[in-house]
């Protein structure tokens, strides 16, 4: 699936809710799901890691839609095929 199609599906499902709720409250939803992902990773539960990653991805799509951001374009601007910090592929950063 194209990233743009993912964003379109998220828009069709949730844009009316995201607009009503606004950016700051929508950000809190992402934070909540990131917390659930942290718990799944701490507990090393593969099924939950998969589900919570999907939720975090979904909320990132919702925020991108809300702010009129093309996620693919934003990604390629920051990561144009090389690491934005060391400018190498593969990355040679050590952190």
């Amino acid at each position: 699936m194209e990233i743009s199609k993912f964003q379109k599906l998220m828009y069709e499902l949730y844009a009316h809710n995201d607009k009503r709720r606004g950016g700051k409250a929508t950000m809190l939803w992402l934070v909540e799901e990131v917390g659930e992902l942290a718990e799944a990773i701490r507990r090393e539960e593969p099924e939950n890691i998969e589900e919570e990653l999907a939720d975090c991805f979904a909320w990132i799509g919702a925020l991108a839609n809300l702010y009129g951001i093309d996620l693919e374009e934003a990604f390629l601007k920051k990561y144009p095929g090389v690491c934005p910090t060391c400018s190498q592929k593969p990355c040679i950063c050590t952190d």
Copy 2:
């Protein structure tokens, strides 16, 4: 760009670092970027929101790679064209 191609690019750039660092430390990177996104949204800075969304997306890709998860598959399993909570499209949840 296909979601799978995004994951492949992230793998080629960062998989060696992610494996060395491990899941828990990689999760902390996502948390750090989510904090930066929260700051950008609180300050209503469109350029920063775009960049931090890209970073959060990138770290979600890194975690998916590290745990052998296909992000598109995980998303479609949780969001099969309808909201997983109300089973409707568009979603009729009120939160």
